[in-house]
Subunit: 193 residues, 2 copies
DNA sequence: CGGAATCTTGAAAGTGTTCAAATCAAGTGG
DNA sequence: CCACTTGATTTGAACACTTTCAAGATTCCG
């Protein structure tokens, strides 16, 4: 089960792993399963673990005063799951994270995470990841302040075709900041051309 | 001039600086000035430098197909300026960054930046910064997909009162993803209560 | 003073939302 | 394999929010 992660690590770092380092990762990074609809974190709780998805899909969301859910993030295989603010700062999370399908992951605590940062390959990967994540967030912000609903959808399809396949349309709509009815109409309009 | 940065560094790290480290920072981090409306980066160019604002204010923005500007970010004293994606990945930036007032900063190149990462206090600060930045981005995304124009504005006022004082209203509006006319009306409505 | 930038306001148009009903799809248990 | 339930999607009509455009008012600054 860790093999998938080691592959991922190799792809995302330039430094090889020693045997001790490999052992340390095996020790710190534990298998964990969630069934569909089970929660990884609930809003109000501290997000104690950082997860790496081996198989499955999760959704991070908030619930507003009217009870409407807004999708902050979507994750599938080879993605990292957690509310980073809560995880890093040890504060209560404002997000829920739930499994959208039965999900297998590897998880580590914050202290294990910090421990692993001593492994060169791991810390290098984390930094690359931060950079990528940062760029993606910046892009999403730019999209949300600059684009119409249709443009946001087209951009999303182009950027994350896999997520379209894995999540129902009303979840995609809430990720994009529009009503599911709106997304349905947009798709129809796009087909009619 | 570097004193302001050393203060900042002390506040944002737990490790003290050795004299050699201080010297390295002085060497790598050069003073740089921009007059109002001069650009730090132009869209299409590589963002070669990372800046730390000593005095002044900058604005990061894109221009869409209709020629409308959208404000991606605002920076003032003690903030870092750059298009991080372009800076880190050495790709052309899609953003413009301009001085909104006469601005003094300290700048470093990417290689100087990487060099400075060997300084413990500096790299610790960078990591904290990344975490904070990440949390702020996440918050902005959540706000933009969940909130109405009025809620976004109220949230912004509460989070960044200083920026309200430093930038004109039409810039704030474009940062929040609404027309300046809309923001004007929202403010009036809020006053009438 | 004069010019440039900014802010306000009304009216009209546009975009996206809400709500409810109907349709469609998938999964479960008999 | 069907009936039933639940979840997902589509659609129309009314509505709400936001934008656009144009004009006028205000502020700032040389």
């Amino acid at each position: 089960m860790h093999e998938l992660f080691f592959d991922y690590l190799k792809k995302n770092s330039s430094v090889p792993l020693s045997e001790e380092e490999k052992a340390l990762i095996l020790k710190s990074f534990s298998p964990f399963k969630l069934r569909k609809r089970q929660h990884f974190v609930q809003a109000g709780n501290h997000c104690k673990n950082l997860g790496f998805i081996i198989k499955g899909a999760t959704r991070q969301y908030t619930v507003d005063d009217s009870g409407v859910e807004h999708t902050a993030g979507l994750c599938i295989e080879n993605w990292w799951v957690c509310d980073r603010e809560s995880f890093v700062m040890s504060t209560p999370s404002i997000y829920h994270i739930e499994a959208w399908q039965d999900t297998e992951m590897l998880i580590m605590s914050r202290s294990e995470n910090l421990e692993l940062m001593k492994v060169r390959a791991f810390s290098e990967m984390v930094h690359r990841l931060n950079d990528k994540n940062n760029a993606a967030n910046q892009k999403r912000i730019t999209s949300s302040i600059s684009f119409t609903a249709e443009e946001r959808y087209r951009d999303f399809v182009a950027s994350y075709p896999e997520l379209i396949r894995r999540f129902p349309q009303h979840i995609i709509a809430s990720y994009l900041g529009m009503a599911q009815d709106t997304l349905s109409r947009i798709k129809r309009q796009l087909l009619q051309r």
